[in-house]
């Protein structure tokens, strides 16, 4: 949005000191009436810098000198096409997961069930793959549709309960993760166990059931798929009536309903959309990365999705930026673990520091602080 900055410029009222005793300064908070894009981005950027500085200090205490950290990041992420390829390969599922979460969050539906939707989506896709449903050339699209439908089915229950009788979706979506996980184990230790290796994962998908490689490094079509999805959502939220009304509904649902916005329809669309993309996240990992459904392919994506959506402010472009950031953090973390014996929990701590700093910066978006003299 390109809003004219009708910003009330900070009027730090000068503390007249001439000829008076020195004054004690007290902080005065004023609610901002409006905030321009520049200030918004500055505050946000400052919070990221603060988080980075804290993280660097922590790592220094843990024995990773800032210079070593710098060269580690350069090596792991940018030193070679292969390194860059690894980052991008990891970015794709993070991006889809972040988008799935952001769609729901943007409509004030706290979908904490991404992993459940990933699992059930992947199970539905696996049905198509394992039982060879449809002709080969149509197999992958069918798997994709099955995954999206599976994700929608998995979120439909919580969505219905929320809209009909106001049951908290945080609880229902979260608990359904465990249901999906047990269903997954049931399949992998039961009928779908790999007949060749007897390991608890499905048989390897056929070539026609995997996302083809791009032909550059180890990247599959999962990445372009994620990017197209991201661009589509960016367009929806910034250019369409759907996006505008969703934002209005998020700001004040009761008002939106009163002025005739079809809030139930918009909510259903957002909830199902989030579930569908959640199912596609599962599909992107099984068919795009692993080539089969394993018992832990989904691990960590729920938290990563929430984190990426939150840090990216539910904005598709922000989500994309933080999906890359998370991918680098993950790979650097793994490398630090190996070469510096840094515990992996430190990586999680760094993630948490970023969340806390960005969440804290909200305060400065709402208030302006200035110092005022008091006797």
């Amino acid at each position: 949005m390109t809003e004219a900055p009708g910003v009330e410029r900070s009027q730090a009222i000068g503390i007249a000191t001439a000829g008076r005793p020195p004054l004690r300064l007290v902080p005065i908070l004023e609610r901002r009436s409006t905030i321009g894009d520049f200030e918004r981005i500055s505050v946000y950027g400052a919070s990221l810098i603060v988080a980075a500085l804290i993280s660097i200090s922590l790592l220094a205490v843990a024995g990773v000198a800032p210079s070593a950290l710098g060269s580690e990041i350069a090596t792991v992420a940018f030193s070679s096409p292969r390194a860059l390829g690894s980052v991008l390969a990891q970015t794709a599922p993070f991006l889809i997961a972040g988008l799935a979460t952001a769609i729901a969050f943007r409509a004030n539906f706290w979908n904490i069930g991404l992993e459940g939707q990933m699992i059930f989506g992947a199970i539905c896709a696996s049905v198509v793959a394992i039982y060879d449903i449809g002709p080969e050339w149509l197999r992958l699209p069918l798997m994709m549709i099955a995954a999206a439908v599976g994700g929608m089915l998995w979120i439909a229950g919580p969505g219905y309960l929320k809209l009909k009788i106001g049951v908290s979706e945080v609880i229902t979506t979260l608990l359904l993760n465990y249901v999906a996980f047990n269903l997954l184990l049931n399949q992998l230790y039961g009928p779908w166990q790999d007949p060749v290796s007897r390991f608890p994962h499905t048989e390897a998908y056929d070539t026609a059931e995997r996302m083809p490689f791009l032909g550059w490094e180890n990247l599959s079509w999962a990445l372009p798929f994620a990017v197209v999805l991201m661009l589509g959502l960016w367009w929806v939220y910034s250019m369409s009536r759907f996006g505008y009304l969703t934002d209005l509904m998020r700001s004040n649902r009761e008002m939106a309903r009163a002025v005739g916005v079809p809030v139930v329809g918009l909510s259903i669309a957002a909830i199902l959309g989030s579930g569908a993309v959640g199912g596609l996240t599962g599909f992107a990992i099984t068919a795009g990365v692993e080539g089969r459904m394993t018992q832990d392919f989904f691990t960590g994506y729920l938290f990563a999705g929430v984190l990426i959506a939150f840090l990216g402010r539910n904005h598709p472009l922000g989500v994309a930026a933080f999906a890359i950031f998370m991918a680098i953090l993950l790979l650097v973390g793994q490398s630090l673990q190996v070469f510096f014996q840094v515990p992996f929990s430190l990586v999680q701590l760094i993630q948490a520091i970023f969340i806390v700093c960005v969440a804290g910066s909200q305060f400065f978006l709402t208030y302006r602080m200035h110092w005022r003299g008091a006797a």
Binding site: G6, V7, S33, G260
Partner: protein
Amino acid sequence: MAAALALKDVTKVFGGFRALDRISFSATAGEVHALLGENGAGKSTLMNIASGIYTPDEGHIEIDGTPVVLKGARDAALRGVGMVHQHFKLVRSFSVLDNLRLFNPQTAPSALSDRAKSLAAQMGFNIDLARTVGTLGVAEQQRVEILKVLVAGAQIVILDEPTAVLSDEEGNALMALVRSLADAGNAVVLVTHKLNEALFHSDRITVIRSGRKIVGTIPSETDAKRLTTDIVGEYLVEEPALSAAAGSVRLGLVEVQQPGSDGRKGLRGASFNARGGEIYGVAGVAGNGQDELADVLSGMAAPEAGKIEIAGAGDVAADGPDARRRHGVATIPVDRYRQGLAGGMSVADNLAVRGALAGRYGGWSRFDRRAARKRAAELVESFEIQGVRSLGQRSALLSGGNAQKLVLAREFEGDPSIVVAHSPTRGLDVRASAAVHGRLRKARDRGAAVVVISEDLDEIMLLSDRIGVLSGGRITAEFSAPADRAAIGQAMVGHD
């Protein structure tokens, strides 16, 4: 005798805007001092300085003749200045006693409870201190606020627009309490924009306008006309203007029933007709079904029984707000910040929603922000919405009058054929009220059926072509303008 509270030559500047310009004000023990002015005149700012929330840029404060520097609200409270804010500062999930304790952390709970009980008894306020604040009515919550500052030892009690949220009855009861507070030796400052409160319930009146003191007087030396001129800076009195021609019935209610929330009576078979080209005023004492009537008319609630007929559309009782609006209904809700505005969204986005739904800015896949913004700029201009520094400004920051103008601008776009307005001028000053009334009359003159629900009988008398009295959830009497005020008043309390 020195004034209990005196502000001397106080100036306060916000971002280049002079909210207060060398104002002096004082309140003496035993008196009620009314501070009058329009929204935005600086009344609240002045009192926020008196209660330590803001520090003055220039000038100083004296309490009992001694210059003081207030370090904050708590410091002011310790020096005996207690402010009762327009928006209550109570924790709704706490008991009354816990709220009192929160404000008086130093006092032992048992002593606090004893003091609260004796003060409540003096106030004539019969309250169970163990009750949860959220279960109390608005008037009772306000009394808890007053009790809170008295328990803290306030001898200077500042009430900021205390009757804005109260019905007439509750307001009168509060005024009696205000007088008893003064009689008990407190200095009471009554911040208000209602002339009658100043004229009939105060000992001294100070009028401020645009941050300057305009006049200091006593009630016996002034009258409503002079005060109005002082407040708005020009002579401004609204006169009734009746409909030129009422048309056919646009909206009809037949035996509508709707239970009230929180155990109130709600609607019990309300029936009336509103015609095109007339303003139908629904008068009544608060709590007789006003909120439920507004909800079933706007479609926010589907009535339990009965019909709501719109000419050309038939019975729309089961339709939600979106379908109602397609039948030409516009709604001006009672709580403009909760139902009228998306506070976190910009002024432009708030103005665009009806146009967007009507497809003016593209289909579902498109939202032409540029066109929406252009239209918003036109509406801000033609509805004279002030305080909009930019169209991107968050709408929650508009003052009451301008927020209401924004709601009107949006609702009157697309020329609605039926307008439902619930207490459209509640909390607005004279000038903003006149503007809102003007818009309602304009809609009527264009041929719309306008239903105004208001607990303010003056407003009903001023606006309505016909008046229905809502009592016990039914329309128990109807009058045509010019109507006899006494007869309406009788009908309002006559039934149950």
